[in-house]
């Protein structure tokens, strides 16, 4: 276990003294979760939280920034095993949930810039190199996102009203009746679909006007979301923390106004979807 870098007092030490030679030599792997301003390191929030390998998470400081990180075993997180492990959906899920828990726990107290999952460095030196490399980007993002949270809004098409009217028993319907009924059903379903799409657009426009930023994620599939209804809008909105309540109320109002739609609000999240300036999401490989 590394020394008590939890403590603010340790700040100078980590920056000026060489880390223990042993740790560096063996290249302890450090998993990075998020970057904060040095002045905004969460004091206690992270104490009960464990990271992706069940490890405690602490802050490592450098250049006025700090990265929240924890030591992880090379058996899972060195390049080779990590690559293999990431292909295991169950393992991936565990890591993703732990990563998110650390980020959002820290983010409840302070402005955090999440780093992408599976960012692993060698020792605290590696973490500091990472901070130096990304300093401008981290600082710009912190300036831009201070005090903001992300809310997710998904819109689902409410389930179609009894798609198959129970075939009239032995209606002995003529072929023509059958075809007529089928085409009426098709028309109804098309209209429902247009209605749904229009509704989703209205929701998105209304919320975009209310938010500082908006991002669209691809619609979700039932196999991961467990959600049976069709997802027609999957968006994230950047909202000043103090406006959150108004935003949530607005979502509730929209839900009441839009018939045939179901809305789902998630959050507050750390501003994951907004760390990249718009149109710049894939900038750095």
């Amino acid at each position: 276990m590394t020394d008590a870098t939890h403590l603010p007092e340790a700040a100078e030490a980590t920056e000026t003294t060489a880390p223990t030679a042993a740790a560096e030599a063996t290249g302890t792997l450090e998993y990075a979760y998020a970057v904060v301003r040095e002045a905004d390191i969460p004091r206690t929030a992270l104490e009960p939280v464990r990271g992706v390998a069940g490890e405690p998470v602490r802050a490592v400081r450098h250049l006025g920034l700090a990265v929240l990180a924890g030591p992880v075993p090379a058996a899972d997180f060195d390049a080779e095993p990590l690559r293999a492990r990431l292909e295991d959906l169950a393992w991936l899920e565990g890591v993703a949930r732990a990563h998110q828990r650390v980020v959002d726990t820290a983010g409840a107290d302070t402005c955090v810039i999440p780093v992408r999952m599976a960012t692993v460095c060698r020792g605290e030196d590696g973490l500091r190199r990472m901070l130096a490399t990304g300093r401008d980007r981290f600082t710009a993002a912190l300036d831009r996102l201070e005090g903001r949270v992300e809310w997710g809004v998904k819109v689902y098409a409410a389930s179609a009203p009894a798609e198959e009217p129970p075939a009239e028993p032995s209606a002995a319907a003529s072929g023509r009746d059958y075809l007529r009924r089928r085409s009426a059903q098709r028309r109804a379903s098309e209209q429902r679909w247009e209605h749904t799409e229009e509704g989703a657009r209205r929701v998105h426009e209304t919320l975009t006007a209310l938010a500082e930023g908006a991002r669209l994620h691809p619609p979700q599939d039932v196999r991961l979301s467990g959600e049976a209804a069709r997802n027609v809008l999957n968006a994230a909105y950047l909202v000043p923390g103090e406006d959150s309540e108004v935003f949530a109320e607005r979502v509730g109002e929209l839900a009441g106004r839009e018939s045939g739609l179901r809305l789902e609000l998630t959050g507050p999240w750390a501003p994951y979807s907004f760390v990249a300036a718009e149109g710049n999401e894939r900038a750095e490989p």
Binding site: A32, A45, P48, F77, R83, L92, E93, A96, Q100, R101, V103, D104, A108, I113, V115, R116, A118, V120, C121, R129, M130, R137, F138, A141, G152, Y156, A158, S159, E197, R215, L216, P218, P219, Q220, D221, R223, L224, G226, E227, A228, N231, S244, E245, V251, G252, A255, G256, L261, R262, L263, E264, L265, T266, G267, P268, W269, V275, G279, E281, P285
Partner: protein, 135 residues
């Protein structure tokens, strides 16, 4: 202060969803400021896996650590996942493409069609995406 866990609040006809399987995450705390709108149902449940993956795996600052996970490897993984999560192509196939005409919207929509192979009827893609890999 304390642990924050994004909470899901569902509005509208909750009966449509058979989503109880999506809960099961840690600490399903009370929802944030549940608004007083009508016809709203509140599920005090944590975010589903898709919500989390699309954030932690696909967002966040991309910066090289010392462990060089070839990011393209992760791209392959996310492509596979996205086929599960749902592809933009598939959405378009269903007729959901209105955001493409809105320039103020995410670049994601523009980027995805290029990286996601044509939607197969079933998602288990084994290695059909490997042509994306670098030499």
């Amino acid at each position: 202060m304390g642990e924050r866990d994004p909470v899901t609040t569902a509005y509208g006809s909750p009966s449509a969803a058979s989503a109880s399987s999506a809960s099961s995450a840690y600490g399903s705390s009370a929802p944030y400021g549940a608004p007083g709108g009508s016809g709203l149902a509140t599920r005090g449940e944590s975010a589903n896996l898709a919500d989390i993956l699309e954030r932690v795996l696909d967002k966040g600052v991309v910066i090289a650590g010392d462990i060089r996970i070839n990011l393209l490897d992760i791209e392959l993984l996310t492509i596979k996942l996205r086929l599960i999560v749902a592809s933009v192509d598939k959405a378009k196939e269903m007729g959901i493409d209105w955001w493409e005409h809105d320039p103020s919207l995410s670049s994601r929509a523009r980027r995805d069609p290029a990286s996601v192979p044509a939607p197969a009827p079933a998602p288990p893609v084994e290695n059909g995406t490997s042509e994306e890999a670098p030499g």
